[in-house]
Symmetry: C2
Subunit: 340 residues, 2 copies
């Protein structure tokens, strides 16, 4: 019953199979008369073309694949939401590939664009290397990168370095001198997440610009998550000369720092300032001062860009959209205690 094909429609309408195809693809070379007949037949048979067959034969599949690492993390969910909105508005299906291991990452990047015939590809955060990019272009899958960068591919990113700098500058302007950074591991970055490097650089840059020394002790690295961040913050707080402020790689990590402070009976922001990055939804709940990055918009813009590329296959140079970050001052930052 679900097996009504284009042939059935053709027979029903008393036309050839190609004519049905033309009608389906809005070809102008069909007389209004037969177009009507075909459409009636389609409706009568409740026919819908097989996207699989369509893909195989080279037509549009109306499907976009989204490759996302750790899509459960709040920041990805928000970007995904942006993507979903514009894709569904454009009538495209969103095929989600979650990536949690390097193996799966390679598998997706390699086998997927070749094996699946999709209209486009959206890659979140995963930094593809040159070889992979070249493969994508050879295969001819329109691709847009979100939250990661490559010269030859269209990208939508945020200026992480500037954002991080703004965060630290905010702390410095408040009067802080001993500023710690709780970040993700720089050396162990299998997915090539750019923000890991960029935010660290921003931290260093702000310090340098203010002639503040970089204290290696104040730079902590660990895995993602508030538990790890809490541990690192505990270490920081136990230092002989503890920092008066901490800049966290992400809001999630900032929450960990907040909790560590609470456990040590250190009040925020009086005795310790904490600033995060992302401005995920619950950040307001914690009244967290943070660097807001437009997560939803990043996803939406990326998807829009891809859809534009699909229509105008003019291969102009790859656009690189950079969205601004913004300091959102709430209640976890303040001038340092009088005499530390």
């Amino acid at each position: 019953m679900a097996a009504v094909t284009i042939r059935d429609v053709a027979r029903q309408a008393g036309v050839g199979i190609a004519t049905v195809s033309r009608v389906l693809n809005d070809s102008p070379l069909v007389s209004e008369d037969t177009r009507q007949r075909v459409q009636t037949a389609i409706a009568a048979l409740d026919y819908s073309p097989s996207s699989v067959a369509r893909r195989l034969s080279g037509g549009r599949s109306m499907a976009i694949a989204v490759i996302a690492p750790f899509f459960t993390r709040r920041s990805y969910v928000e970007r995904l939401q942006g993507i979903e909105h514009v894709l569904s508005a454009g009538g495209y299906d969103l095929i989600l590939y979650n990536v949690e291991t390097v193996a799966r990452r390679d598998e997706c990047l390699r086998a997927l664009p070749r094996g699946e015939r999709l209209d486009g590809l959206l890659i979140l955060s995963l930094g593809p290397d040159d070889a992979e990019v070249e493969r994508l272009q050879q295969i001819g899958v329109p691709t847009v990168l979100i939250d990661t960068y490559h010269d030859t591919l269209p990208t939508v990113t945020v200026d992480d370095e500037a954002g991080a700098r703004a965060a630290v500058e905010h702390l410095i302007a408040l009067g802080h001198r001993r500023i710690a950074y709780v970040g993700e591991q720089l050396d162990d970055n299998p997915f090539h997440f750019r923000p890991i490097d960029d935010r660290y650089r921003g931290y260093r840059a702000a310090l340098a610009a203010a002639d503040l020394p970089f204290v290696p002790e104040y730079h902590r690295q660990g895995k993602y998550g508030w538990r790890e961040a809490r541990r690192m913050a505990h270490d920081l707080l136990a230092l002989a000369a503890p920092p008066t402020a901490v800049f966290a790689y992400s809001d999630t990590m900032a929450f960990g720092a907040l909790e560590a402070a609470q456990q040590c009976h250190i009040t925020v922001p009086d005795q310790l300032s904490v600033i995060g990055f992302d401005d995920v939804e619950i950040a307001q709940h914690f009244r967290l001062t943070t660097i807001r990055q437009p997560l939803y918009e990043t996803g939406a813009r990326g998807a829009e860009l891809l859809l534009e590329l699909l229509d105008s296959d003019v291969s102009r140079p790859a656009p690189h959209i950079v969205l601004p970050t913004e300091l959102v001052a709430r209640h976890t930052t303040a001038p340092p205690a009088a005499n530390p």
Copy 2:
């Protein structure tokens, strides 16, 4: 380079095309010798089979659609993760449809199974009515319902009523008598979310079983979200005889209650006990006592069930899996203050 097909591999290995196919599908009817040759050729050519072609000839699209309302909410994300894991392990694509309005809900339920060729359908939380269920069955799309129930369709749910009852019983066992319920609106439930009714019933049932009167004043309803919950909790706390404990519909709403208490300088759990529902990830962070429901497992089981149904198209009666909930006692509940 970009177009290496099974034929290229066959030529390279000096074998027939079918043999390559056999090797790809782990058929035992290939000599170890040729198998080796083929695999060498595959590696040499960096070949990967086109899943699209495979689908077309196999008659299956290897795609499962997931219809989820508000997939950005934590509880849905966790269920989605479970679904994603088993689907990708089974080689299926996950096509995601986000539903935020009733209109889109109807659109998905109607147009989707018709338009796309999917092997199966997973519906989260959205309670389809009889007519919709009938359509699905007519079209012949294997469907599994998660977090919602229908007689004739396979379902994976949690006993929300029992969970809610356990929450309130926990409070009662602690000595509480004035127990409030902060829930979602009972009368305005366009998506037909079952837990909204069930948890309320559990609350009432626990009260009744302990011969505690139901105090309408203690029953608050509002929209989803911690802001709304915070507002409701504020109202509750301003009562002449405020409750000594509140059971929240979800962890998210519990967080709102927690914040309201904090704003009123009411300490938790000494002056007020708060219990939630779900046990989402951050609940631990808040040290929230809550009713844990196996979100990930619910999604995973639903997906597994669907995959099983796909293989064995024996139309046995629809199975109804009910997963247990569990009280997770942390630090937001305690006996009520001595003399309220």
